[in-house]
Assembly symmetry: C2
Homo-oligomer: 338 residues x 2
């Protein structure tokens, strides 16, 4: 077994001094090796012509490791997905780490390995970063912030204002997996079976559709707040309504069972590898067909239709044959899910 | 007195649901009002031609408010300074907030006011953001991450490789103020007199020098680790040495007294409104003269000279007339200083 350079993260690792430089060169620079980062200057320097997308997300998920992903994979995929939702090809990432004094070095190393792996998979580069350490008890193990910059696909403008009545709403995969996987990973939680997070970068699934077709008018990934909240955001942004069909919303049997057990509606559970697309009525079936050819889009389905502004924003035709209003998430059933 | 929308920050404010949308619209969008942010899409979208600088920093300073600044001012100025050090005009910022459940809403509001004020002063815009809440005890009040994008001044390339023997080292102001101001703000610390943080955005002081002259070869702000550590970073990056003259390093009498009392060398204390410049030998005196015309550069001084690589990287001629090696910071005398 290789000897560890340190057993635990100490305050000195965030001091700006010798220990921090050792950690940066010994771990971060090695794993994220690229010519821009190697300069170790105050800012990364590069040129990116065209229109850019810029996004940021902090990740405070607990536990750090759970079925199907960990905070590192989640952070990279979450940031990539925010860029992809804007129709942008992800290019460069920043990394802000806040670690608790006493954090096991192996935990940090595992997370950094994961950050590096999923960045490499999507051909994005960590070009600038910051490492802080706070005293024991001042944060819970490890928080990550990633900001990302991408280049918008030329000639495409994904925008809620383009949405029109009769447009179709498509979802790219099974919902509710991520929130329940994180919950199941918490101490004292045992659902009796395992649910894997859907956490995944959606660049490979969605960017070819953006690049090669004009079909997609708008995309958003239903993370915190789930599908229900994201649909409310969409109708607020476009000033229209939407009717979705509960029977068509793809939910695995495991998620159905677990959600019932916990008294949570899967429509309000966070997802990390699923997107909601709004497409013109004529494009819907071909978009679903294309999505299904990709492993991440196998369960893609058309789930609803955009309507003229009704009194309520989001209407759901339930499995029971009734109709009800689907509001935004109003409480916090699952804190620290991402 | 105006009624507060909330007394305390709750987990629901970070849920992605209704409460979070209320907070974003009621506070953040109002204070950071700009057309890009108003879109509230997954990413901010804009075009920035030319070469760009991209940087990130997390801020975990404790206490949140201290003499001369607060975490909000510090975060904006710190990010702006990182961009300025690369010779870039700051343009767009992202904001990642991690709040502890139960945080007083007025604290958040004060910090957001400060973020907005100092962004406005430097004509930079918060165009994208993220708000997370963790349960009580999982973080200490409030952490902030800001990433920033700037445009490099055309025709300038600030770069350690341009540094040559006989180049002069200039410091733009008194050192040690920030670290001691934060320390003095901590519970149970009473120095008997007040030291104000030097926290300031250096765009107005330094960008005209970059834009109008070719004098500056390299800049870095001596934050964590202080002047001593930054000088070590500079000589490591350029492969040369430096000799500085302790008598010339500008330190206020208050900082001298407090540092002596605490047994800390001011050369290792963090600064947040001071930069170290490396300039050609012929430009040094004119650069110092120009700096001194600006309120933030009144105490600017030439403090040393670049040398051919000596055995040790940074040499200091001390007040006592002796010479010693000035190493990097090796411990953490003042955690959570930024």
């Amino acid at each position: 077994m290789k000897a560890l350079p340190y057993e635990k993260i100490a305050l000195g690792h965030g001091s700006g001094g010798r220990l921090m430089h050792e950690l940066i060169r010994g771990l971060l620079l090695k794993k994220f090796n690229n010519p821009i980062l190697k300069e170790l200057s105050d800012s990364a320097v590069f040129a990116l012509p065209g229109r850019l997308a810029f996004t940021t997300d902090s990740f405070v998920v607990s536990p750090l490791f759970f079925s199907g992903a960990d905070i590192g994979k989640l952070a990279v995929c979450g940031t990539i997905n925010d860029l992809v939702m804007s129709g942008a090809v992800p290019e460069y990432l920043s990394l802000g780490l806040i670690a608790e004094e006493g954090l096991d070095y192996r935990v940090l190393e595992r997370v950094v390995n994961s950050l590096a792996l999923y960045a490499r998979k999507s051909r994005v580069y960590f070009v600038t970063g910051d490492f802080k350490v706070v005293e024991k008890g001042a944060c819970d193990k490890l928080f990550i912030n990633i900001s990302g910059i991408g280049r918008l696909v030329k000639g495409r403008r994904l925008c809620a204002r383009r949405i029109q009545p009769l447009d179709k709403v498509i979802i790219t995969g099974n919902i509710g997996q991520h929130g329940l996987a994180v919950l199941a990973g918490r101490k004292g939680m045992d659902l009796g079976f395992s649910i894997r997070s859907d956490c995944a970068a959606l660049d490979d699934l969605l960017l070819p559709l953006v690049q090669n077709t004009q079909a997609i008018k708008f995309m958003r990934d239903p993370t915190r707040g789930g599908v229900a909240t994201t649909l409310n955001e969409i109708v607020q942004a476009c000033g229209l309504g939407v009717i979705i069909d509960e029977r068509k919303v793809p939910v695995s049997n495991k998620v159905k069972a677990a959600a019932e057990l916990l008294g949570i509606d899967p429509l309000y559970i966070a997802n990390e590898g699923v997107a909601i697309l709004v497409v013109g009525p004529k494009s819907a079936s071909s978009v679903v067909r294309r999505l299904r050819k990709h492993p991440l889009g196998r369960c893609a389905r058309e789930i609803g239709v955009i309507t003229k502004k009704p009194t309520a924003g989001v209407i759901i035709n339930t499995i029971l044959g009734t109709q009800r209003i689907l509001g935004m998430l109003t409480e916090e059933p699952l804190p620290r899910i991402c």
